[in-house]
Amino acid sequence: MNLILIPIFLPLATAAAVLLINEKTKYLKEILSSAAALVALLAAGDIFLQLPAEQHLSLPWISAGLSFTLRADALSAFLLLAVSLFSAAISIYSFSMPDKGSSKWFFFNLLMTQAFAAGAALADSLLVMLFFWEGLLVFLYTFIILSQDAPGARRTAKKAFLINGVTDLCLLVGITITGYIAGTMNMSEIARNKLTLDYGWSVFAYVLLMIGAVSKAGAMPFHTWIPDAATNSSSPFMAYIPAAIDKLLGIYFLARASIYLYQLNGAMSIVLMTLGAFTILAAVMMAFVQKDYKRLLSYHAVSQTGYMILGIGTLNPIGIAGGLFHMINHATYKSCLFMTAGSVERRTGTNDLTKLGGLFRLMPLTAIFFLIAAAAISGIAPFNGFFSKELVYRGALDSGHPIFFWAAELGSFLTLASFLKLGHSVYFGRLPENLKNTKEAPFSMLLPMASLAAICVLFGFGAHLPLERFISPALSSIGVQHGELAGFEAGKLYFLSVIVILAAVINHMLGLAAGGGKASKASDHIHYAPVLKQAYAMAENRVFDIYELGMDKVVPVVAKVMFSVDRFFDWVIDTAPSSAAGFFSDASERFHNGSYPLYMALTLAGAAVYILLAALNGGLK
């Protein structure tokens, strides 16, 4: 048994086993899937520790050219480790989570997602990756639809499925063209002779690959299902898929495509950075005004993707390192944040900021973990988010387009402001009467939160550790030459971040004052500012949501056209053949009328013709 197969097949097998277990059994499924996730984590760790010896596996598949190839280079192994880590954390966190839907199906989906994500991370052949990637789409759908038995969940599941389905289709086409241009499907072989964006087809292919990758990561404008999922599905799902797995895989593949497979040029770099900056700003603006715990977090999940895309888009080693580092950091603190949201929701029964407040005293540990993670996401030194953002900033500055740097800084400002609002309104301020009896979250929920918060701290104080152990080998495995990836540095950037923090605090004060002291209204002064007011109103009405736009405007027209096309095909394959078949079988029915002389005549005539043909063509020559 190749070690590399364990992280894929163990969850698969466990998922199958979970389905066989009776729904009524207590904790058996939970223990089983947690154990499987932990074992997979150990295996992933082992694979990682065996580096630089790359584990790999190649099985003959469809034909000689298309083999089933898995390869754990430093980047894949790192990603696999991260996937396994978050899977284990979510498994444990979901142990006693009550509102995750049917626990059998929850764990089934969790394990299947883990298996397919591990496969996508390890795949070396683009086709194999595509296979696992599409598999994730299926389980994304089932995960959402089985998390709640409500029309909203079904609607959101459909939305997520359609958005990702369309972009996965782009990915499919992109991969096909890429494989065709390169003459091979194996990424390691393509990388030896990188493709350049010299001509139309390769640009087209790259853009398609990019669309697939950033949409998986949840960047604008493919993000719209995430906030909906925040209201219509469970917290563990949010902590797992949009916060962790999707980001990891999307950014991973973006890095692979942009650096490993293709040699990008300046123009494409600008495109990527613009996309990143736009995502940061637009999403954080939306996040800032949200009044729902999870929904607010979900917009941040979108916004943070922008930093990663921006970092990778800079195409310089510092920026890429920042993007990748931010990817892992983001997964850590965003998972942690969604977990705190889940804990609060479990204990208070609501996520509405206006109904929460003063929970610090009642749920101190949750609050502390929230604070750590919030500080990390806001880029406050010395937590991990600070360092990765710092790298992204430096990368953006080095790219020679300072506008992106300023956009990122503005994003940071708004991020911090919105977390000030969130933290204030949930954990501080006045405790509502009906929440007097709130208890601290159970141990099984605290443990993963604690671990993730610990990682936030660890990667912050010891930022050189992940940079050296994870990011640096990953960069070299995709062929990026890099200099020193410094940790903390008390330079201009540090002071700028202090200024941003101060500005955010001042903004919060202003907001409080304007909102009459209510923390949940601390964003209203921006929300209802003259021009922004209309923009927000439109955004709330989903005017900018391409999915809703498509559903409202494009789909009916296309559906009408397709319907007539379908009628045509229906006629071609149904009406026409059946009337033809009807005609012929009517003829046959009239012919087979049981009349002996007719049959005899046919037989004799047939025989006569046959004999004549045989005599003439059989050749007595």
Partner: protein, 101 residues
């Protein structure tokens, strides 16, 4: 010049008559008569070919077997005829058209 072509010519004529009978007659008995005539033609063809190939003994051996077969086949045919007469009450094969479609 041997007489083989003439023999086969007559044989062909005989078989034509037999097939015509099977095609045209309604009575099962006459169908069987047509069948008999065809069989005779086939036997003649076989023996005449055997004679031409200087293999008469071999051909005779085959014809003997053919005669045995013919007896049983005609016996079976007549048995079917009688059974049909009992069951369906007719000897007219053209009236047998309950199986169709």
């Amino acid at each position: 010049m041997n007489s083989f072509p003439m023999e086969w010519y007559f044989t062909a004529l005989m078989m034509f008559v037999g097939f015509y009978c099977m095609l045209a007659s309604r009575s099962i008995v006459r169908q069987l008569i047509g069948l008999e005539i065809i069989s005779k033609g086939a036997m003649l063809a076989l023996l005449s070919a055997g004679a031409l190939a200087n293999n008469l003994v071999f051909a005779q051996a085959l014809v003997l077997t053919l005669i045995v077969i013919e007896v049983v086949v005609v016996g079976a045919g007549l048995a079917l005829l009688v059974k049909n007469f009992r069951v369906n009450g007719t000897t007219d094969i053209w009236k047998l058209d309950s199986l169709k479609g």
